[in-house]
């Protein structure tokens, strides 16, 4: 009896399930034309398949620490921000600065004032208006000392920006409104009258006043510090506002749809994007740090794009399919073997000495003995490119002319002609190559010291330190390593960022190393303030030649961006700034085919 009821119960359930699975029918009453007949028709509803947008699945590696335009600084943070937001300007495939949210911009005669005119009818992804007041807020927030953003100094050309940043917001006499009033950032109507708020559609003009000429500043306005995050969202979300898709409402090509911290971010196209095109696919970021696992996931079809690792390069090259899927293009960094110039060093007996690289002939010897092509091939598996110049290919100011090259015989001669007369006296100093300890860096450093031994007869000890310790050492002129592999990756595509920001003696980078060249300083100062763009470029070109001739470091190699990309991802247009993923700068050119 018990079994009977069980079967009966199962039949009852099954019937209900089957009933639920019946196609829905609708009874319609149809009047047949010309007759009084009423016909009952059963209409069977046919389910319409939902059209799913294709998704581009990109592996970014490490999850971002903070996704806040005025606080972020890392590549993977910017990778998220630049899909959600767009600055006043942006960059095209050639890294030329082109209109972004601004339709046009104009400098005054001496480049101490820059006026942006926004495109009409700009909207955020939620349909709310985007006007100049939003960009005014973004820049103010970047400069506000309470924000303490890691890239806050990048807008220090703005009048009173460095002064405000240095003010103590906790001081009794601190008056924020006073600082805002005298800051060189003003949103207005076209006729100069004040805006009435964020809904003011006529508020389309943003005027920046600088404390010194800054004819490159329109390029800086393309980077993330000027992205217009909404003030009300930041305030509503509190300090952790950036961790929610609810508050990350932007004007970029995508809308942040889903955030699963440390797992994935999902984006959908923004139909209100005012840029050159609207992407035709969804974008999904995944965060797999282990390159071996990411490689397997790519081969298994679970990722559409992932950075390739040097360790997998041999496997990729040996496989015709993977080779065809491997995309390599110029990167944004130039790496050097840097010479410590300002610090005091100690020999094995503990006796202090000045840097031997203060002697230009020693610098020349080490520079000419650096086999950059051998490095690119042997150490980096051709995932870098040798260079004897500073600004990398693809960037404004790139110039192949250089007095430097790999010449071991000339290197030996230079060392012999130096104050040391040869390697012996140098060896007595106990030279060291300091590097951030990792298996890869150890391999690189061992290669380098062996080559210097082979070509110059110089003994260099390896000095591995923890990576963060390495950074700390290089930030202090007193502890800057005697020899260290270090470089520069561009913030924005302008020669000013490569030359003035990094090598001029009044900048922290040059001061840390102890480098100074008055001719270079004068040329870059003049170039920075020249409004004629052709003349400006020529001055930077001259400055670069002076720099190379002075040999502040052994040049070097340019990084390459290298990704594995599935064959169904088409239309990728890359720039050297696309170190996060291939095509990130202009994602609307990409299509993801069915597969």
């Amino acid at each position: 009896m018990r079994k009977f009821f069980v079967i009966l119960g199962l039949l009852a359930v099954a019937s209900m399930v089957l009933a639920a699975c019946q196609p829905q029918t609708v009874v319609q009453t149809v009047v047949v034309a010309g007759t009084p007949q009423v016909v009952t028709v059963e209409v069977v509803a046919t389910p319409v398949p939902e059209v799913q947008a294709p998704t581009l699945r990109v592996n970014l590696g490490t999850y971002p620490d903070v996704i806040d335009p005025q606080k972020s600084s890392f590549v993977n943070e910017i990778a998220t921000l630049k899909q959600i937001y767009q600055g006043l300007t942006t960059f095209n495939e050639k890294l030329e600065t082109v209109p972004g949210s601004a339709a046009k911009w104009e400098y005054n005669a001496d480049a101490t004032q820059l006026t942006f005119t926004l495109k009409p009818d700009l909207k955020y992804s939620d349909g709310s208006p985007l006007n100049a007041a939003r960009f005014e807020y973004a820049l103010r927030r970047n400069i506000d000392p309470s924000t303490a953003g890691e890239y806050a100094s990048i807008t220090d050309e703005i009048m009173n920006a460095p002064e405000w940043r240095a003010a103590d917001p906790n001081a009794a006499d601190y008056n924020r409104d006073e600082w805002l009033a005298k800051l060189g950032v003003k949103a207005s109507h076209a006729d100069g009258t004040a805006c009435t708020g964020y809904d003011d559609a006529a508020c389309d003009t943003l005027t920046l006043n600088f404390s010194k000429p800054a004819p490159y500043f329109h390029t800086i306005m393309g980077i993330w510090v000027a992205y217009p995050a909404k003030q009300e969202n930041i305030e509503a979300g509190g300090p952790n506002w950036w961790n929610s898709s609810l508050y990350q409402v932007g004007n970029g090509p995508f809308i942040m749809d889903v955030v699963e911290p440390f797992v994935r971010q999902h984006f959908v196209p923004n139909p209100n994007f005012g840029g050159a095109g609207i992407p035709s696919y969804d974008l999904e970021y995944r965060y797999i740090v282990d390159t071996a696992v990411a490689f397997e996931a790519f081969k298994n079809g679970e990722l559409d794009m992932t950075p390739s690792a040097g360790e997998d390069f041999a496997t990729i090259q040996a496989d015709p399919t993977l080779s065809a899927e491997h995309m390599v293009y110029p990167g944004a960094c130039t790496i050097l073997i840097k010479f410590g110039l300002a610090a005091k060093y100690t020999d094995p007996s503990g006796k202090p000495y000045d840097s031997p690289f203060l002697d230009k002939k020693v610098r020349e010897a080490f520079a000419l003995a650096f086999d950059a092509e051998g490095w690119a091939h042997d150490v980096d598996s051709d995932l870098s490119v040798a260079t004897w110049t500073w600004i990398p290919p693809g960037y404004p100011g790139y110039d192949t002319a250089t007095p430097l090259k790999f010449d071991p015989e000339a290197a030996k001669a230079a060392l012999a002609a130096s104050s040391f007369g040869g390697p012996d006296k140098l060896n007595a100093l106990g030279l060291k190559l300091t590097y951030g300890d990792s298996p890869r860096n150890k391999q690189r450093s061992e290669w380098l010291v062996q080559k210097y031994k082979d070509y110059l007869g110089v003994d260099i000890a390896l000095d591995p330190v923890d990576a963060t310790t390495f950074t700390a050492l290089t930030k202090d002129p007193a502890t800057f390593p005697l020899l260290a592999r270090q470089g520069w990756c561009a913030d924005y595509p302008d020669p000013q960022n490569w030359l003035s920001v990094y090598w001029r003696s009044d900048t922290t980078f040059a001061q840390r190393e102890g480098y100074k060249n008055e001719q270079f300083d004068a040329l870059t100062k003049e170039a920075d303030t020249t409004t004629d763009s052709a003349k400006r470029l020529d001055l930077y070109k001259q400055a670069q030649q002076v720099l190379l001739a002075d040999i502040p470091s052994a040049f070097g190699y340019n990084t390459l961006n290298h990704f594995l990309v599935q064959p169904w991802v088409k239309g990728i247009s890359t720039t050297p700034q696309d170190s996060d993923w291939a095509g990130a700068m202009v994602p609307w050119t990409i299509t993801v085919e069915a597969h």
């Binding site: 620490d65 890392f74 950036w242 911290p261 797992v263 797999i288 397997e296 298994n300 963060t468 950074t471």
Partner: protein, 332 residues
């Protein structure tokens, strides 16, 4: 038992204080700071650095920073901010705007506590431990009962691999076998809400503990099997199916329990490699990253949590002893 529990729990306070002090000293003596990032990119300028150091209290003397962390201190705005004694583990230096307790214990909106980073790590650790117990103990029992037979050799072969092979090597092998060749699971979990996604991570994480458990169980069983009381039980006519669970296993479990308690803590703390491989949103990776990033509050907070876990695990082991072996009295 109650007195014993209270006494052990009270001992946690000086233990954790000592751990926090030692961690603080080591951490702050390590060169570099939270804003010493990629040397090939722009670094934080001096003005901003000063602002950040003031905000985080790094401009104060070391003793005051430690006291501020444990008890609390007045912030630059003049308000008192209570420290660890109030459950405040401090602000993260890298994940600006978030506190350590928020990062570790807060789940995304509308999600339960077990979807926090701590929750994920605990679930992964528990899954691995359950796997170790469910698989490791039976293997150990079988190997002991069938000593020097095929079953014993097979079991020890597998456990030797588990003990000697690092889990990141094991992980790649298992990924290739189960995901790439067999397509039974995905390498990358599309979501962590399905049990399917947890199989490989739990398996890889727990494999080493499974092997250790199996070997320990086997050794303990072999020792117990040779005891006089087992011979007596057999002489009295008791069936093997009664002798094994009631007389052998109960006594053999004591050394096994000894390792399983701390094993849970190790499984939770040792999940860094698994989290890195699978993009698993747990605590382990946050812990290791915080060290290289010099995220001081995160280092202190996660170290204290792990110390607490180990202490509680050891306490649990002691309590379980008293249930397994009635001769053990905890009160005296």
């Amino acid at each position: 038992m109650t007195t014993y529990l209270i006494r052990r729990l009270l001992w946690l306070i000086p233990v954790l204080l000592t751990v926090s002090l030692v961690t603080f000293i080591i951490m702050r003596n390590a060169p570099g700071g939270p804003w010493d990032t990629d040397p090939d990119r722009r670094q934080v300028d001096a003005t901003t650095l000063k602002m950040l150091e003031t905000y985080y209290g790094l401009d104060k003397p070391m003793w005051r920073q430690f006291m501020a962390y444990v008890i609390g201190d007045v912030n630059p705005k003049g308000a008192f901010v209570c420290g660890l004694v109030c459950g405040n583990m401090g602000p993260s230096y890298r994940q600006r705007g978030r506190t350590v307790q928020d990062i570790l214990f807060s789940a995304p909106a509308d999600q339960p506590f077990w979807d926090s980073r701590f929750g994920y790590s605990m679930r992964l650790g528990l899954s691995a431990l359950i796997f170790a117990v469910v698989v490791g103990i039976p293997i150990g029992i079988l190997s002991a009962l069938k000593q020097n037979t095929f079953w014993d050799y097979a079991g020890m072969f597998v456990t030797t691999i588990g003990v000697s092979m690092p889990n990141f090597v094991m992980g790649i092998f298992l990924i290739i076998i189960f995901a790439v060749w067999l397509h039974w699971v995905n390498i990358i979990a599309s979501t962590w809400t399905t049990p399917n996604a947890w199989i490989l991570p739990a398996l890889i994480l727990g494999f080493g503990t499974t092997a250790t458990t199996a070997r320990q169980t086997r050794s303990a069983m072999l020792e117990v099997m040779r005891q006089d009381y087992i011979r007596t039980a057999r002489a009295k006519g008791l069936a093997e199916r009664v002798i094994i669970p009631r007389h052998m296993l109960k006594n053999a479990l004591i050394p096994v329990v000894t390792i399983l308690g701390p094993a849970l803590a190790i499984l939770v703390t040792g999940s860094f490699i698994i989290e890195t491989m699978f993009g698993f949103p747990g605590m382990g990776r946050a812990y290791v990253m915080s060290i290289s990033q010099r995220d001081y509050s995160m280092i202190m907070g996660t170290t204290l949590i792990y110390a607490l876990l180990v202490a509680l695990a050891n306490l649990s082991v002691d309590i379980i002893y008293s249930f397994i072996d009635p001769r053990i009295r905890l009160d005296k």
